[in-house]
Amino acid sequence: MTGKTLTLRLKVWRQDGPRAAGRFEEYDLPGISVDMSFLEMLDVLNERLNADGHEPVAFEHDCREGICGSCSLMINGMAHGPQKGTATCQLHMRHYRDGDEIVIEPWRSSAFPIIKDLVVDRAPFDAIIQAGGYISAPAGSAPDANSVPIPKEASDSAMDAAQCIGCGACVAACPNGAANLFTSAKLAHLNLLPQGQAERYSRTVAMVDTMEDHFGSCTNHGECEAACPKEISIDFIALMNRDYVKAQLFNRRLAGQRR
């Protein structure tokens, strides 16, 4: 809370629609308070663009608290910008200096086509969850919540994975455009819990196969973990891989028994 202001030079990706060609546009932006969030800085830009008769920049945001996973900006080549464990909306301008040039792009991935300017379509994430990212427990069928004690460590670990906000930074940061961190986080959340055991292997296969239909392959760069605003660990990818291998055996055996 210093009353200090910055003048910035922004290079922002503008693209009128999914099929339009995109381009960078440059804007000089004075009067940015260091207490502003990054998105408030973009609000100021948009107010000025609108006042000058130019269409504002489209970008996604909603909660502005780092939890809804809407915001999704590549800032100087880094998904969600420079601050570790921070979504774009939680990044504040005190991390920038007067005169800085900031390049702002949408997530770049063939799985996430651009809709307009900085807005992309992340529907393939929903497809992965729909394939098996749930525990089948229709309303009304549940036993008492304390009937199955869960060791605190297991529950904590499931929670570590469950924190994923589905923003897609992992995909954007990955040189291969892989979604292994996202998929493995959901698998770990459910597969680590006693309630998730019944569908553990079928879930793993369904989600991994759907993931592979849409996204690139993981070659262990680890960029995803570094970009993740929730600092989700790539150890979950190892767990997913192990479960996938086990699933091949397990599912075959079950299939043999059934038929």
């Binding site: 308070s33 909660c63 809804c68």
Partner: protein, 643 residues
């Protein structure tokens, strides 16, 4: 087409309070499993209420078509809830029960809620925890593997279940995943980035909606046997609030304009613990969960001119004003009480921080007593969030907090079955007015949203649908749909054609200022009358001078916001009108004329123990009032005291 709004029948079942829901479940008509798939239900919204309803209706066999303006159901505002969800499990053995949760909620709501609804909420609360645990919601646990609890404001028992500081996220993911499963099974057709912009009413029944595709601008009609609206709260009518930026009143306002009554719009909750605004560009306010009041102590310097840093101010020079004024509940008094107390301190010049617009929330004692580890375990994500936003470390210096608009108890009027006065239109979650009276207790919105979606609507909707067996949906070629489509398209065109000079945000901020200054924590005849004359003038300026660039055929966020702000003007007028007519202070509604000598609120049970349900007449400034008298059979109306 005239709707019958003269008789506001709450449809509360007869019989003893504790038996009403059980008996009602037996009495409602059922739709047999084979017939369920013949019914199409439109569900608008995929927050806790909408997602749980859509998933559960689909599990039962209904054909569900679901809509959200978000790009994924998982992004609904519910995701941001931090602190927890209440349930009368009594796992702590500390004297909790269905009756106590019921009683606390009625009292917390300042005796302005319907007894039967609240009792049902308390009854199903335990099922919610079971359901969510079965879905894999990773609630906090103790070392023995059993579920942990914390306490929240307005209660003297520990009944709040939580998942670190991300309870809403985990509950919503549970509901989202259940919904995803039904989408996968083909039982739910999901339409994202699709905004409901009108309700279609034919022969007095809700028969469908009109939407706009936010990516390509297409306006389209959808027909159903029933319409379920679960579109969240309207806190952003104040511009600055803790709500997500896109939360809005549009769906329920447009339904209101089609005949649905709007109940108690003036009941708005101001949350005591939010990060104070830092400058004029502030776009939203961040909540610091109420759970922090379990371990944080709230204080201000006794001396308004005390310029020392907080750690240099000795105990004797501090005023722990909540502990002093309310010894029984201390820092855990309900939200409305805590908020007004902070306002009092700041108004008296004892505020802290560079703008003197906050009070301290201090963890030093708790860290001393429990150790930093414990505090970190309980609140690390909140503390980090605070640090990120303010650049200050709460482990070293106390947090600065101030009240902000947070939740809206008002909403569309619904009966015991959650059906509005428009047959076939159901309203769930924060969008309805049902369970919280004039003030909601912490951790009770998540409970209500999920109660509505998992355990109430799935029973009550059958009662209505059973009567429609064999009837096809009204075709979207019907004139009622065409009229609504034209209505939507016209409004879009009108907003784009003003081509004025000021942005949508400019108008939204101006409206927000009027609302906060004149209809915020303290309201008076004078301030409300000021708003009632200034808001229509601002609305007129909007329609003459707003600048919405771009077109209608591609993603246009200014256009989306313009429609929502246009609705806010009309809605704000109704809100102020309701606040003006309610000549009493209760819960989140505080009229300066109606205060006791010590400044506490003065309720007027003789004249105002009713729900004010407003009918749209075509003119925003002249709504018609319908009253639902509140009958209290089980609790004794008492002055709320937390002293």
């Amino acid at each position: 087409m005239a709707l019958d709004t003269t008789a506001l029948d709450s449809k509360v079942p007869v019989g003893p309070l504790a038996d009403k829901w059980t008996n009602h479940k037996f009495d409602v008509k059922l739709v047999n499993p084979a017939n369920k798939r013949r019914f199409t239900v439109l569900v608008v919204g995929t927050g806790l209420a909408g997602a749980s309803a859509a998933a559960t209706l689909a599990e039962l066999g209904y054909k569900v078509v679901c809509f959200s303006f978000h790009d994924s159901p998982r992004r609904a505002h519910s995701i941001a809830a931090q602190g927890g969800i209440n349930a009368a499990k009594n796992y702590r053995n500390d004297g909790d029960s269905v009756h106590r949760l019921f009683y606390d909620t009625i009292k917390g709501g300042d005796y302005r809620a319907r007894e039967a609804n609240v009792h049902r909420l308390a009854e199903v609360s335990a099922d919610i925890i079971d359901q969510c645990t079965a879905q894999g919601v990773p609630f906090a646990r103790e070392y023995g593997g059993l579920l942990d609890n914390r306490s929240f404001g307005g209660a003297q028992v520990s009944r709040t279940f939580y998942a670190r500081g991300q309870t809403g996220q985990q509950l919503l993911l549970g509901a989202y995943q259940a919904l995803a499963r039904q989408i996968h099974l083909g039982n739910v057709e999901m339409h994202t980035r699709t905004e409901m912009l009108d309700l279609v009413v034919k022969d007095g029944r809700a028969t469908g909606i009109v939407t706009r595709d936010l990516v390509n601008g297409e306006v389209r009609s959808w027909s159903g046997h029933a319409v379920v609206v679960a579109t969240g709260g309207y806190g952003n009518v104040f511009y600055l609030s803790t709500n997500a930026m896109q939360s809005n009143v549009t769906a329920i306002w447009r339904a209101h304009r089609r005949g649905a009554l709007m109940a108690n719009p003036c009941y708005t909750q101001i949350h005591p613990t939010c990060i104070p605004a830092s400058d004029d560009f502030q776009s939203k306010l961040t909540l610091m969960s109420e759970s922090l009041r379990n371990d944080g102590r709230i204080w201000v310097p006794k001396n308004a001119d005390d310029a020392r840093s907080p750690d240099q101010i000795p105990e004797d020079d501090r005023d722990y004003y909540l502990e002093r004024r309310y010894p029984a509940f201390g820092n855990l008094v309900p939200r409305d009480v805590a908020s007004r107390a902070s306002k009092k301190e700041v108004d008296a010049g004892r505020g802290v921080g560079p703008l003197k617009n906050g009070v301290y929330l201090d963890f030093a004692d708790a860290i001393g007593r429990l150790g930093r580890d414990v505090i970190e375990e309980r609140y690390s994500n909140l503390i980090e969030m605070y640090d990120r936003i303010t650049g200050e470390d709460p482990y070293q210096v106390p947090m600065r907090i101030y009240p902000a608009v947070h939740y809206t108890m008002g909403g569309l009027w619904v009966d015991y079955n959650l059906m509005s006065n428009v047959p076939g239109l159901y309203v769930l979650g924060e969008a309805n007015f049902s369970d919280h009276g004039a003030n909601r207790l912490g951790a009770s919105a998540l409970m209500q949203g999920l109660a509505d979606g998992y355990f109430v609507l799935p029973y009550t909707i059958g009662d209505y649908l059973a009567g429609l067996l064999g009837q096809p949906v009204v075709p979207t070629s019907d004139a009622a749909f065409a009229e609504a489509e034209t209505n939507v398209a016209d409004m879009t065109r009108r907003m784009l054609s003003v081509k004025g000079t000021r942005s949508v945000d400019y108008f939204h901020k101006e409206l927000g200022k009027l609302m906060w200054d004149n209809c915020g924590m303290a309201r008076s005849t004078e301030s409300l009358e000021k708003n009632l004359s200034e808001i229509p003038a601002l609305a007129e300026e909007f329609w003459n001078d707003v600048r919405v660039l771009g077109n209608d055929e591609s993603l246009n966020q200014s256009l989306e916001r313009a429609g929502r702000v246009a609705d806010y003007f009309e809605f704000a007028t109704l809100l102020c009108h309701d606040a003006l007519v309610r000549e009493e202070s209760c819960g989140g509604h505080f009229r300066v004329e109606h205060a006791q000598e010590d400044g506490e609120a003065r309720r007027d049970d003789e004249n105002f123990a009713h729900v004010a349900a407003w009918e749209w007449t075509g003119a925003p400034s002249a709504p018609t009032l319908h009253k639902e008298e509140l009958v209290f059979e089980s609790v004794h109306l008492a002055t709320r005291s937390y002293k």
